[in-house]
Amino acid sequence: MRYHTPSSFEDATAIAARATGTTRYLAGGTDVLVQLRSDVVTPDDLIDVKHIPGVKDITQTEDGGWRIGVAVAGAEMTEHGGLGRDWPGIVEGMDLIGSTQVQGRATLTGNLCNGSPAADGVPALIAANATVTVSGPDGVRDVAVEAIPAGPGKTILARGEMVTAVNVPARGQNGGDAYLRFIPRTEMDIAVVGCAVNLTVEGDQITSARVVLGAVAPTIRAVEDAARAIIGTTLDDAALDALDAAASAACAPIDDKRGTIEFRTEVAGVLAKRAAKIAYARARGEAK
C-alpha cells in the first residue's frame, strides 16, 4: 500500500485517476481503517486528504449557507455552535455516530461516501437540500447529496473523483430540522430506522417540507408523499396520520435480527411524526 499526502485536491484526484488498483481516500479513517484492518478492502493507494488546506474548516458563505470541509470531524461540528443553531438536525445526526473516540475522527463526507443506507449523518443533509462539490479528471461539479449513494456501500463517484466539500444552503427565516433514529440500545449502534425532517413555516402553517428516511431501503431516500402530507397543514393529527402512512408506505427494508420488515416499516412512521414535531417546534422558535 502506498500512502499519499497530497496538498491540493488536484493532486489528490490526479493520484486516484492514475492509480490502477484499489484506491481509498483517507479522512477520519473510521470506516477505511476498519476495512483495511479486517482485510475487507486493502487499498493499493491510500490518499490522505488532511494535508489539503481548508479541509478542517466550517465556513459560512456569503449567502448565509455553510461549507463543511471534508476532514471536519463530528466533534468539531458539535462544538461549532453556529452550524448547529442553523441546522440542528444535521449536527445531531452526525453526533449520533459512534463513541467519543470515533467523533474525534469521523467525518460527514466519509459517512456519505461509505455508502451505508443507515448512515446517520446523511438523511438531514438530504432533507436540507445540501450538495457536495465533486472534483475529478473532468473538472468540478456540484451534486445533490441525495444523488451520491448508489446502493449499499456504493456511490456514483467515478474513478479519480472525490468530494471536496459539503454545501448546506442558508437556513433562512422560520425553518427547522431534526433527525431521529431508532436503535435497540441508547448509544453506539447503527440505525434500524432513521428519519430527518426539514420544514419552513409561515405562522403556524407549514410552507415547505422534506422528509428523508434511512435504513429502510438500499439507499437513503427522500419521501415526497410524506412531505406533501404535511405541507399546507399546521401539523394537526390528520396531517401526522397522513405523514405516518406515507413514511411507512415508502419503506422497502431488509429483515434481520436488529429489526424485522414490519418493525422497521412501523417505526419509520413513528419517527417521521416525532421528527416533524421537533422540526416544527424549531421552525416556530419554540425549541432549540
Partner: protein, 159 residues
C-alpha cells in the same frame, strides 16, 4: 516495501520511528516507541482500550495510521502520572478497585482525563455517555464511574 519516517511528539518528547504505511499508531506506539500502555482490545475502534489523544482530541489509536502522527502531539497513559506521583484519576481507580484485568484501564483513564479537561464538573450521565466507547468486561462500570466522579470532585476542590 519502503517504510515511512515519522517524527512526532509523544507525552511531550520528540520521537522518531520508521513504519509500514499500513501500521497503526497503536502498533507504532507499542512496537516502535516501546510504550505498551495503550492496549489492543478489538483493533476496530469499538472498545477504546487503545485510547490516546492526538492534538488534544480523544481517538482510538488503532484507527489512526502511524504515518498520520507526523508533526502531531500524542499523549498516552504513560504521560499521565508526574514522576512517581499518580494522577488523581489513577489514585481513585486504585482506591475504588475500579479495575480487574486492567486491559481497559489505560484507555478509560485517558478518556476520563480528556472529559475532565473539557468539563471539570460532568454529571454522571455525561460521564457515562462520554465513556460509552470504552468497554470493560470485568467490573460492570459502576466502580469506574464512582472512581471518575470522585476524582473529578477532588480535582475541582484542589483547583
Amino acid at each position: 516495501m519502503s517504510k515511512i519516517h515519522v517524527t512526532t511528539t509523544v507525552n511531550g518528547d520528540e520521537v522518531e520511528y520508521l513504519c509500514d504505511p499500513r501500521e497503526t499508531l497503536l502498533d507504532c506506539l507499542r512496537d516502535r516507541v516501546g510504550l505498551t500502555g495503550a492496549k489492543e482490545g478489538c483493533g476496530t475502534g469499538d472498545c477504546g482500550a487503545c485510547s490516546v489523544t492526538l492534538d488534544g482530541r480523544l481517538v482510538c489509536s488503532c484507527l489512526v495510521l502511524g504515518a498520520e502522527a507526523e508533526g502531531k502531539e500524542v499523549t498516552t497513559i504513560e504521560g499521565m502520572a508526574t514522576g512517581d506521583t499518580l494522577h488523581p484519576l489513577q489514585r481513585k481507580f486504585i482506591e475504588h478497585a475500579a479495575l480487574q484485568c486492567g486491559i481497559c484501564t489505560p484507555g478509560i483513564l485517558v478518556a476520563a482525563k480528556a472529559l475532565l479537561e473539557k468539563n471539570p464538573d460532568p454529571t454522571e450521565t455525561e460521564m457515562r455517555y462520554w465513556l460509552a466507547g470504552n468497554l470493560c468486561r470485568c467490573t460492570g462500570y459502576d466502580k469506574i464511574i464512582r472512581a471518575v466522579m470522585d476524582a473529578a470532585q477532588e480535582m475541582r476542590e484542589a483547583s
